[in-house]
Each structure stands twice: as C-alpha cells, then as structure tokens.
Point group: C2
C-alpha cells in the first residue's frame, strides 16, 4: 500500500493554511509518508490515473492535532486525587505514587495508555515531558505516533537520575540514540525556574543551541513562583531567564498564567512560544493565561492537555474548544480566538513551536501525511453550517474516524491498528491496583 | 417487560444521594416507571426471586442528567454564526433566521434534533425555553423524554404570539393541555427583565403561584443589563424583581454573571435557584457566574447548556466538567465545586429547582427510573481510581451506553430506540439548506 498513491476523498478538507479555508469536492493524495497534492476532485483522475480511492463520506479531513504539553506516563494517575490544593495533591498523592512506581516499566505502560488515548482522539504528535524519555520515545515510535520527548532536568534525585551531571549525561545519550529516528525528536525539559539552578540553565542554553533543539519549561504557572524567585534570586523569573540567555524563540513556555501587559510585550519581543493548558490551569486554580493579549501581540500560542493527573483527559478537541471559550470569557471579547485560530493553536502553531512547521501542522503538498478524518454526520454536529466551527465548538473526539501518521494508517473506523487495546487495558488494571495500594499507604503515613 | 421487575447489575452505582457514594456489588431494581430498590447484589436473589437481570459490565449507573437551561429548537442554528459580538450575532444572523423560520414545524424539527442529541448523551430531562412550547412538549413526550417547557413571554411580536395578552392566553392553554401529561410540565418563561413589562411580571407572579409552577428567567447575563435597568426603571434588576414579588424560591435565574457579594447574599436569602451556563457565558464573553461564592452561601446551583447557537453542543458531560473547572479557576480555589458537587448540579439540584426533587435527580427507591449507564471500560477513562472523578473530569458523552426515562429504555448500547435518527438527519439537512439561504440573504441586506 505504501508504494502507490492513495487519494482520500472526504466531504471537506480543512488544510489549516490558508486560515479558514474549507475545500469541498477536493481530494488529498498521499504517496508513502508524504502528501503529494490537495486538488479538486475533477482533476484527480487525470492527474493521478488509477489512484487508489478511499472515500470518506460525511467526514472532514484535517491535520492531526498536536498536543503541545503532555506528561504521558501520568495517565496511570488519572483521577487518583482531585479537587485538592496543589501541595496536598502533590505531597500526599502524586509524589508518593511516583516515588514508588516511576521506572522504565511504569513509563512504558503509562505512555502506551496515553498514546492510545491520544491517537484514538485524533492527536498525531505530542510534546512530552517526563522521566525515562527513551522509553516514551520507543513507545511512541512503536505505535507509529510522532513525538518530541523532553530530556528532563530537575534539582532532586529521581529514578531517572540523581545528580545534575547524571541528568545531562542520560539526556544527551537519549538525544544521541534518537538521531536516526524518523518520528521522534528531543527537547530539553528543565522542570521549572524554582527547581533548576543557574548553572544547569546555562548548560542547557549552550547545549540547546549546539543540538538545535527547543527548551520546554513550566513557567509562571502560579503567583507563588514569582515570589519564590524574588526571594531566591532577587529576580522575576522572566528577568532571570533573560539574564541566563534562555528567554528567546527556542523557549516553549508552559502555562504562563501570571503575565501583565509588560510581560506580554516581552514574550512577544523575544519570540517565546506559549504552551497554553487551560483545563489544567483552571482545575488547579493556577490562574488564566491571557491568550487574547498574547495573540494580539503576535505570540505563537499552542494548546496542550498537561498530564492526565491534572486534566483529566488527553482530549485535544476538548482542550481546543476550552482555549477558544476561555480566551473570550477572560478577555471580555467574544471575537477573541475565533474557531480558525483555535484550530491553528492545535496544529500549525504547535508545529512551529517544535521546529516541525516544514513537516507537519497543515495539509500541504510535500508535508508529512499526519492527518485525521472526523465524521460530522452525527446528530451532535448537525447541521453543518460551518465546518471549522463544528470542529472547534461541537465535535467530540469520539467522532475521529481515521488517523494517519507519516502516511501510515493508525486508526480505521475508530479502531486502533497499531496498538493492542485489550493488553493496554489489562496492564492498566494491574497498575491501578498497585497505585491504589500505594495511595492508601501514603494516606496512612500522612 | 414493564410488568415485571428488572434488576440492573452494573460495576458501580452512583446514587448521588448521599453525596459521593459509590456502590460496588449492588443492583438497582425497577418496576414499571419506578425504582423499587438499590440493594447489595447478594440480597437480590432472595428479595426479588426470578427477577430479570440486565448485566452492565464495566458500566456505572447514575441518575439521568438534567439540562437546566435549553433552547432546544435552536439546535438548527448550531454554528450558523460564531465568534461575533452579541448584537451582531443576534441582529445579523440569529434573529433574521428566526423571523423567517420559527413556527410549529421548525420547532418540531429543532426540538427533535435536540432531544436526540440530549438522550444519546445521557440527558433525560431538560428545562426548555422557546416558542411553541406545545410542540416542544409533544416532541419530548413522543420520544419518551422528560421536560419542563417554558411558557414564553416577551414584549415583541413573534410567530408564537403578538400581544402580551396573546402570550398569556396561549401559554395558559399549553399549561392546561399538559395537565394530564406524565413526562412534561410547565414553567413561566419571561424572556428577561429588559424585554418584559412590570405589568406582565406582576401577572406572572400571580399565575405562577396559582398554578404552582416555576418562573424561568434570563437574569444578569451581561453588565449592560444593569445599566439599562437603571435607565429604564431606576432600579437594579434584582431590586425591580424584588419589588414585583418575583425574587423568591420560585425563580430560576439563568446566567447570573453579574453578582457582587451583596447580590449573592440576597440570592441566597431569597432562595433563588441559579441556572449556570458556563460555555455560553464564556463564548459570548458575558461574564462568569461566581459559582463558588453562591455554593458557599447555600444557593442551589444547576447546570445548563443554553441553546446550541451559543454553546454549540447540548453536552451535559462537557458542561458539568466546565462548571467544575471554571468554578476553581474563577475563585482561585482548587477545592471549589469538587466532582461530587458538579454531579449534583447536573442532577438533584436541577430536580430541586424544577420542583421535581421527589421524582427524579437521585437513584432512590420510589423515584422515577430516569437513569443512565456509562461505560468506563475505555482507554480514555482508565484506570478507574475514583468513579465520580472519572464521570466529571474524564468521561465523554459517547460513553453513555444505556438510557431509561420513567423505566422505559430509550437508548441501548448507544443506539436510540424511540427516535428515527436517519429521518432526523435528513430533515436537519433540509433546514440547513433553508437557513443558509436566509443567512446569505440577511448578509446581503445587512
């Protein structure tokens, strides 16, 4: 199948570029891993005689969604503890569970659960941030999913590494090992300003430039972070990062809920990318990222789910919708982040942040064939007055019917082709029992 | 089937009352329209020998969700116009479409589309607010769905009525006609303080008391509403309603985004019920209802979707989740509206507001068998550490597997039993074409 041309013929194609375009009576032709053409249906037979046709009635074809910020393996903690203040949530539940469980096997099982959830829900690429990125990378690649894995750096010992030097050594080894990997690349993932030293940040800056990879950092998630930075460094976190040479267009800043007008100007000037996680920010009551103000200044804003321990889904349709709704409510402007822009945040903007905009994020000839088909011919998305509005405001991830990554079909008619769903479910059940035991023990100890 | 006892045996039962309870190894027994018992599985055979067993493996049984505020027929306008300021949205799109289309046939088709969407998504009762409530009532009853239909009152002529007197006469006739109807009851539905006269409000107060029905009113949706009330009546809308004798526990106040501490105290003291529509309020940038503050004061808060023209779904799982998330984000308190409370807002609180708390809203012996089963045995809701957390934060409406209203099964394995989905789809397609023509004409005229 991968040697010939395949023409997908849906009811609509939403290429994302140009903005707002909805093509009817068009086809998308794939060859191998790539998109060869998006062309009018009536030109298809002449331009690609004998092409294999895949009809997708009632469906819309669009780029696969890109989850700009995930902690995939944390899916095993989904719903373990909710509705708690941040520190009680972390200290009494999340950290004890992680201390007891995190290792290669845990990360493999958790990432596989997340990959299954994301692929079935129309996400074709994720920007991950967790320990054992080698395992996450292998898990994504095995499933045929695209990923950027973070090379973690944090000032406390974990199962992944104990000293700063070890974090760097292991991270660099992972980067080296993934060099030949088509679907997976790397980013540096220093945890947050309050858990990473100046020395480590400096080393990251040098190495990120040398390796030409992004720096994926939790930044300004809560107000407390600014206070603690002033106390420890006598600097606002943005000033500190600027001083360390990290506040630039290589930086992928996650959360960013604590920004005033001047901060937003600086973000825009520096070309910093913002990875917006609206569900997680609301759930933990961290604050609200001023997306409308950032977009007005030309900042590249992307959307991410965060981990399933604080969301509790990896549902990019829900996240895209929430980003569009919350931007309006928070800014008081019903025209802020229209549907077309929300869709860009979940596709091409994320590709741009990850340095992958030449390869993915839109449906254009020459790009990788990372694409999804969504059935709009369902009660919940009828009538179809405006396709993109339906995709952002009304579509649920259960309407994702087909998924391809690099031309390989991974979901067909809602069924995963590259994953053993039953095995993932039984492994998840085993981890569930183990984690519940640990959580009960932690509660007794607390 | 309706003459014998039926025992449903799911993995879990969430009765909603008492708060937070999750029963394992239990069964729910129905007889005719009612719930006979919720009892331990091992007592089932002895107490109900020979009972018909319906096993629901991997599923959780809970009360059907209640959509506290809907404009069902507006589903035909879903996505017709989005991302616009309120007045351009109304004047250039929604009103021209309504003026051209609203009538019995439009309301029948639109309500049927909405009923199908709601039932398939686990909503078993809705509080409707639109013209031709007789048609909406008949449509719901025909599908076997429970509803409260609003008797509309607005100071402008519409296809439903032209004068205040006619609105009252037609409304009272609908109320009279529905007296024998088991599934459908009525409420007064004066549109909003800025579109209803003092005289009409006074008449509504008298009649609502006489008929013992609620008053369903859009209130404090936007800041502009307060200004216009001061200009026209020299009173804050709450003061005006209080003066007119309407600010009491019969009032179902929709939206309520413009409340300060003193207003919240008054809402609590008066026993006014608040119908919270978070998605619509965010999308139209109306403001944010201070749910955490209301709940702290003991106010009965319910959740509604509003119409599909401003949401754009009638998805009560999404709305319940958003209510839980937004309350935390808006109050800065991650403990605000925990999952158990969000579930109450979508079930028993709405039953209470509608005066139906003796009949629906929880799973208790003697109540009507309005209940749904949700499959949690799917990748997106595994592991199941906490059932109610999964229902509120992770479950999508596509996981609704079974739906019963008054003991009658309306959805089986995700398929509607009482509705012809194909016919609804084709009728919706016809309305889609008609509405698009009208919208194009209105655009040319504007």
């Amino acid at each position: 199948m991968s040697t010939g041309d395949i023409a997908l013929v849906p009811d609509w194609i939403v290429p994302v570029h140009p903005r707002g375009e909805v093509l009817s009576h068009h086809a998308l032709v794939m060859h191998g891993q790539r998109i060869s053409a998006v062309l009018p249906r009536e030109e298809l037979d002449q331009t690609y005689p004998g092409v294999e046709l895949v009809r997708l009635p009632g469906q819309v074809l669009l780029p696969g969604l890109i989850n700009a910020h995930a902690h995939s393996a944390m899916s095993l903690l989904r719903g373990l503890a909710d509705d708690l203040p941040l520190m009680r949530w972390l200290e009494d539940h999340i950290w004890p569970a992680e201390q007891a469980c995190v290792g290669a096997e845990y990360v493999r099982a958790g990432t596989e659960l997340a990959v299954a959830e994301m692929l079935l829900g129309g996400t074709t690429c994720f920007n991950d941030n967790y320990f054992f990125p080698d395992v996450a990378a292998a898990t994504a690649a095995r499933a045929g999913m695209r990923a950027v894995v973070g090379l973690p750096l944090i000032s406390v010992p974990t199962a992944w590494a104990t000293t700063e030097d070890e974090y760097f050594a292991r991270g660099l080894a992972v980067h080296q090992d993934l060099k030949g990997e088509a679907l997976v690349s790397t980013a540096f993932a220093p945890h947050a300003p309050y858990t990473v030293s100046d020395a480590a940040f400096r080393r990251i800056r040098e190495l990120a430039e040398e390796l030409d990879i992004p720096v994926h950092l939790h930044l300004l998630e809560t107000a407390g972070e600014i206070d603690s930075s002033h106390q420890q460094y006598r600097l606002h976190p943005i000033d500190r990062l600027e001083k360390l040479g990290l506040f630039n267009d290589r930086l992928l800043a996650v959360h960013m809920t604590q920004l005033d007008d001047r901060d937003m100007d600086r973000v825009a000037r520096a070309g910093v990318h913002v990875l917006h996680c609206p569900a997680s920010n609301l759930k933990l009551a961290s604050g609200i990222c001023p997306v409308a103000g950032l977009v007005d200044r030309g900042v590249n804003v992307c959307v991410g789910t965060d981990g399933a321990a604080s969301n509790n889904t990896l549902d990019m349709f829900a996240e895209m919708r929430l980003a569009a709704l919350l931007a309006k409510g928070a800014s008081g402007n019903p025209e802020a982040v229209p549907a077309e822009q929300a869709l860009e945040m979940a596709t091409i903007n994320a590709a741009r942040a990850l340095g992958l905009e030449e390869r993915i994020g839109t449906l254009e000839a020459g790009k990788q064939a990372d694409l999804i088909a969504v059935s709009l011919d369902r009660i919940e998305t009828l009538p179809v007055h405006h396709v993109i509005s339906q995709l952002v405001y009304a579509t649920g991830r259960h309407q994702v019917s087909q998924v391809w990554v690099a031309g390989r079909q991974l979901v067909r008619d809602g069924q995963a082709l590259s994953l053993d769903i039953d095995r993932i479910k039984s492994e998840t059940a085993i981890w569930q029992r183990r984690l519940e035991r640990i959580d009960r023990q932690a509660a007794r100890g607390a």
